[in-house]
Amino acid sequence: MRISWNWLSELVDLSPFKGPIELAEFLTHRGLEVETIDRLGQGLEQVITAQILEKKPHPQADRLSICLVSVGSGDPLQIVCGAQNMKAGDKVALAQIGAKLPNGLEISQSKIRGIFSYGMLCSEEELKLKEHSEGILLLPPLTALGQSLATFLGRDDTILTLKITANRGDCLSHLGIAREIGSGLQKVPQLPSVESLVFQKCPISIDLSAGDLAPQFFGCWIENIKVGPSPDWMVNCLEVLGVRSVNNVVDATNWVLLELGHPMHAYDASKIRGSKIQVRLSRPQELLPLLDGITVELTGSEIVVADQERAIALAGVMGGGNSEVQMETQTIFLECAEFDPIAVRRSASRFQRKTDAAHRFERGVNPSGLAFALARLAHLVIQLAGGRIVGAAQAQLPSRSGIVSDRREVKFETYYLNDFLGFPRDQEPLTLEQVKSILEALDCRVEKQDNAWSVCPPSYRLDLNIREDFAEEIARWIGYDRIPSTIPILSSPPGFLGSALPRLTVMDRAKEALVRAGLNETVHLAFTSRSWLSQFQYSSFVQLLNPLSEEYEMLVPSLIPGLVRNALENWHHHFGSELPSIRLFELRPVFSSSSPTIEARSQAETGVIETWKLALGLSGSRFAQALRSERGEVDFYDLKAVLEFLWVELGTKGVRLIPLLNSKSGGHPLFHPGQSVEVWMGSSLAGHFGLFHPAKAKELKMRAPFWIAELDWQVLTQLSRPSAGVPRFQAWPEFPQMERDFALVVKKGVSTEKLCQLAVQVGKPLARTAQVFDIYQGSQVAEGMTSVAVRVIFYHETRSLQESEAESVSARILEAWKKEFGAELRS
């Protein structure tokens, strides 16, 4: 909402404010946020109107001329000018010496090709009145000389742009802002004095047949008007407030809209057929040509203003082209009405015409202000376009007759305001007298009945309906900065909510573990494109009905596509000879739907399934910085190490890794089948980790191997502390342990983990752990064989072991290895 300082000062005394900045602060602190302050005349201070008395060519330059310029008083000035479009007698804009123009140019006395110049004749571009202009600005012949150009152009004004919140429809006009200021300063705004209309003798009658959707309609019939351009002051003022001038009648309706906040409309009365205006619901498939030249097909649920044959306006939104005021129009019918906010909002959005009128109706207009606004408009039209009021008509539902605001009485306990806002009772700044006087300054009718206030808000304050609304009014009036600061009392013990505890604690710990493992957390937008997902063979998506673009059409079904894109982008913008290390993790929900169409199932159920996932992606060097020979590239075992570290940190129990080649669930198309695993937790498949499939990687032009993991967070959480309890102390052996190392040769493909498990199993109870410490394939062992070095550790809780005991268990283990895996000791 753009507000003119000059206009506002006609409605309310602005002298208590030093200037627009102070006013802006005042308004902002009352909840009417001023976003910009635009001083229109800035840079025009030293520019005045002048007249060229004489023009002659510059002796030294063909393109320059020397003008003798009068400013009305004093001696004429000599000005050198490069423009060609002026002649002696023209009225022009003269920038005097010392002027600093809006484009930054400073004017000083200068000598141009040997001739002194005492100022500059300006173009519209130089004055920033237009983006581009040719030649200098020529003013109308009757322009008085020596006056400020800003005043002459109506630009000696300041425009405040306000952000009006959706509840304050009453502030969408100069009057509304004036009232707001007036209430704060306890001054009553001055409305223009207008002679009331007499509601009789109107050639047409008004019929309200849309019920509550159109509770009031006022009209005025004026004949013998002369449509034409509006005067310059009005054109200029409308323009700086963002309204394009059309003609004097239309401009008058817009003027009253900006002044009083009532949307108004003017019909060409000669085009109204029959003797009755009907406000009714549209008929299905009824056609209505709008003012903007486009014909819309109505649905039967819009309110329309109609004559006896057809709709002539989309009520509250836009007039009809079939009744438009045009240059030849001589008789007009003016409308000021109240329409239902929801109905207008639906019409405006259905036909995508968010007009100024609709904007105000959606927020509600003052139900008691219609007659005044119509009278104001009628007189303004006559002032601008001549003519004579023939008569006026009105129609109101019973709910709108009388004083509307009386029906919105609110009662609350006397000290409610003090207690709710936190002000002490009966003390400054909120004694009972102060409450009363503030509410009265806000134009409320206040009565104290026993221990309660009874308050009736003014008719234009549609937002004041409950006691909390009045609490805000009081707080606004006193100033939020005067509300005390207190710390509330804890009336129950603090503590995490039972249900959220495991989820949040595990989440925090998991992130901490991964950060300690040297991974960077990343957060991606939850959106992705159909085409990107199809690269990964994901098929069922959750799709947005109104996406920003194709790129953001789907909600992610998995975190892997995002990680892959992330790696690609990181590689892409890297310039060095070696690719950067990528070590990322992300923890967030992914989306799927059990049914193909998404629809709310109840007030709280959407049918969309959100599954939290943890994803990891590793690529590049094992160290952040090291010499080339020591750096090493991450591989499967680095990724496995990160995950095992995570499981230890979370206390995760029951994790089983199944090589993807042995998968019973059908593998995974995004993982290298020989270098990836399924992660099972309990009886659930919790996810996968391993190498991103090389064929896919090649297709996507990935520049390095990418090691990835994606785990179901829900499953992981269930099997982790604190769900599984607090870890207990475990004693370590008191007596010395014995080690035996075995160098075995087994067939390639034998699981070293299983070798170790077997050793512990057959070596029970003395063999406690078995650990692989070397794996070798190559020229020292036969083709197709692998050499595996295993260390078995033996101990007894209560005594030292004999050599012979370890020997006999070792023999048993060797035998079992041979039988089960064909393992031989390496010779």
């Binding site: 902002t28 909840g31 946020e33 919140t165 959706a166 509840n167 959606e362 709710f420 806002l421 936190g422 909390e468 609490a471 805000e472 606004r476 939020y480 900065d481 509300i483 005390p484 600061s485 207190t486 710390i487 509330p488 804890l490 603090p494 503590g495 909510l497 959220a500 949040l504 925090d508 992130k511 950060v515 040297g518 991974l519 957390e521 990343t522 957060v523 937008l525 959106f527 947005l544 009905l545 920003l548 909600l555 995002g562 982008e569 990181n570 913008h573 950067p580 290390s581 990528i582 929900p589 989306f591 998404i598 629809e599 709310a600 007030q603 709280a604 959407t606 952040a624 910085q625 090291a626």
Partner: protein, 347 residues
């Protein structure tokens, strides 16, 4: 004979002192103390000496022997140390060569900021709770006093997934879910991703919010102010001031926009300040007293919220990215979601 002995002794001691390496020292030991050594030769002549002199010569010889042995050991130790020093000097490495650095992990700025805020507010007794990102239109809007066809809907451009299903535009739905499932008193923080149709340097279609809700009997607006003041001072520094301005959010009444004094131009507001752009204030959150309509909705759904006489509450919502960008001076919101390791590894 004593003289000969003394002559040999002092000569040998001098030679030992002059020995320049361990090899020549060892040869010296053999030639002085060995069976065929000079000293042995002298002692062989002992039998020809008068018997009265023998003990004197004998003890003199032993004394010399002991003295020479000590000298040899000392010299050996000295030479060995010299050798070691020389060896260590040759073993030197380039200590200025680069360290073998492990990767340094990091929390995303959104997580860091959220954790900081939760840390501060949980000291006041708030609990944390989460909710779904895909929300019903009812809980996201109607239940929090944003009816269909009301202009306040325009405040938040909404992504729809289907009839009645939206991507949540704020985390207020979580507050309603909590009020429908739990008894009061209630003090909760709801962090998480929220979505609005908007994309430029200061708007992302997905961003993060943290909303706080405190519901109890007789909660006052001054309590809201006190809590926010504590929060602002803890987050931005003890000198921080807050400023509440009236504003409108449909789920609160009264509503407020909350500004904090610029932490950058603490002493003197500077027009050139990149953080507050010369205003001295930063708009960081929206807040207000819970609209009674929300309690009515909760009471209509949940037994736990019946008997809500005298129940009041306050709520506030803070944009995580906004705080993160202010504190860390990140110039473009979009950077936070690009996963660029050059950004991630900085914080």
């Amino acid at each position: 004979m004593i003289d000969i002995l003394n002559g040999i002794g002092s000569k040998v001691l001098k030679e030992i002192g002059d020995a320049i390496d361990l090899t020549s020292l060892e040869q010296m030991r053999i030639s002085v103390l060995g069976k065929r050594s000079v000293l042995s030769e002298v002692l062989k002549g002992l039998s020809s000496a008068p018997s009265s002199e023998r003990p004197v010569i004998g003890s003199a010889a032993n004394a010399w022997k002991k003295q020479i042995e000590e000298a040899l050991d000392q010299r050996k130790e000295f030479l060995e140390r010299a050798l070691l020093i020389e060896k260590l000097q040759n073993d030197r490495i380039d200590v200025t060569a680069p360290a073998r650095l492990h990767h340094r992990g990091s929390y995303h700025l959104i997580t860091q900021t959220t954790r900081r805020i939760i840390q501060i507010l949980s000291r006041l007794g708030f609990d944390v709770t989460l909710g779904p990102e895909v929300e019903t239109e009812y809980l996201n809007f109607e239940a929090v006093n944003i009816p269909a066809d009301h202009p306040s809907r325009d405040m938040q451009d909404t992504f729809f997934l289907g009839p009645g299903v939206v991507l949540r535009t704020h985390t207020s739905g979580v507050q309603m879910r909590s009020m429908m499932a739990q008894a009061w008193p209630m003090r909760i923080l709801c962090p998480g991703a929220v979505y609005r149709c908007d994309h430029d340097a200061t708007h992302s279609p997905m961003f993060h919010q943290l909303e706080g809700l405190w519901v109890d009997r007789h909660v006052k607006m001054s309590d809201l102010k006190g809590i926010l003041e504590f929060f602002a001072k803890e987050l931005f520094g003890a000198e921080t001031q807050i400023r509440l301005r009236p504003s409108y959010f449909p789920f609160v009444e009264p509503g407020a926009e909350v500004d904090v004094s610029c932490f950058q131009c603490r002493v003197k507001i500077s027009d050139a300040c990149r953080v507050c752009k010369g205003s001295g204030w930063l708009e960081i959150l929206g807040a207000g007293m819970v609209h009674p309509r929300l309690f009515q909705v909760a009471a209509s759904t949940s037994e736990l919220f019946k008997n809500s006489q005298g129940l009041t509450g306050f709520a506030f919502g803070v944009g995580i990215e906004r705080i993160a960008m202010l504190l860390h001076q990140v110039p473009d919101l979009r950077l936070l979601f690009q996963g660029d390791v050059r950004l991630l590894s900085q914080f």
